[in-house]
């Protein structure tokens, strides 16, 4: 009900609920039960209700949830009811894929600048986003308000880039490089190592016999 200690896994599932609610909304669906929404997301319905109960009461007993209203509530909880301005460092294949990911932009996550150290990439424009030299980071930060920094560099450069992001005051970092980032407690860092997903899948396929 309150504001304290929300499990990370609950926050993750809120994102899942948003995706599913968007689909139901697109189908013109007005009402939904915790049972049906939970099934769509592959979770238990009590869990869905418990997840929501950390933040308030959003349903009607005996009836269910209003699809558009629940969507609005969860977006407000997540903070995704507004635009987020982002920069990206490392304009390799993954970096370019993210710069071109239209779904992100549609959800309000907008890249305002990209950075690289490769002369051949600096000055290019990827999906309307200009690629600067990393040296120009402080200059770009004076022009743009930036909420999130995304790291898609090789592992060897990730800490250096993170340090620079932190230096210019960025409070949220999403790190796709396969290495842990050191950071002060007032900076939030989410790690996403794609190669580990393959490892995990290998483990389970391996054991199917």
């Amino acid at each position: 009900m309150a504001d304290f200690k929300i499990p990370g896994i609950t926050v993750y599932r809120l994102g899942l609920y948003v995706r599913a609610l968007e689909r139901f909304l697109a189908e013109g669906r007005e009402l939904i039960s915790s049972e049906e929404l939970a099934r769509e997301c592959g979770v238990n319905s009590a869990q869905l209700r418990k997840d929501l109960s950390y933040f308030g009461q959003f349903g009607v007993r005996g009836v269910g949830y209003s699809v558009p209203q629940l969507l609005k509530h969860i977006r407000r909880i997540l903070g995704t009811d507004r635009e987020w301005h982002m920069i990206l460092a490392g304009v390799g294949h993954l970096g370019q894929a993210l710069l071109n990911y239209e779904l992100l932009a549609k959800r309000g996550f907008k890249f305002v600048a990209a950075f690289d150290i490769d002369e051949k990439k600096i000055g290019r424009v990827v999906n309307d986003v200009y690629v600067y030299s990393l040296e120009q980071l402080p200059y770009v930060l004076r022009e743009h308000q930036v909420d999130i920094g995304v790291i898609t560099t090789p592992a060897s450069a990730a800490q250096e880039v993170a340090d620079r992001f932190i230096e210019v005051g960025i409070k949220g970092i999403l790190n796709f490089a396969p290495v842990r980032i050191q950071h002060p407690p007032d900076v939030v860092v989410e790690h996403s190592d794609i190669t580990i997903l393959f490892d995990k899948l290998a483990f389970y396929v391996h054991r199917l016999d």
Copy 2:
């Protein structure tokens, strides 16, 4: 110590340990304690030891772990001590990024074919991987032994593609489309919705005040 019910989060951390051990090995490190390896991965050392204890005893009391041997053991546990042959459906930006991800290939995850339904993409070659029409899936499967199918299509196509993968006998699916896949119990599906990472980060940054 045995073979039963390994938590998914433990499998995930095994991947984390492998990444860190690879770095220590590259530095020529011979021995490491659970304390140091755990610190590098951002976990508690008892947890690391407990994770390993599901599978056996790999260290020496009073000494620590041999870096190369522990690496070998965890790779064998994960099944990543051999090559995995993969196909990919959906040659968009993310699909191309994965086809070009050299680290994956270095770890033994090799793409043998890609698929799309866009005429303009069919017949192209991305990082030595040929792009086929999805119709040619059964034909390609007769030529190649395939362990893993990767889905990087839009959400609307993901279930259809998964059904075809399952039909031709693929037992492991890694789905990057932002939708849950229905599948029989003898098929393993890992979901990775990148947009949810941004939601999660937004939530925590949002609450920093």
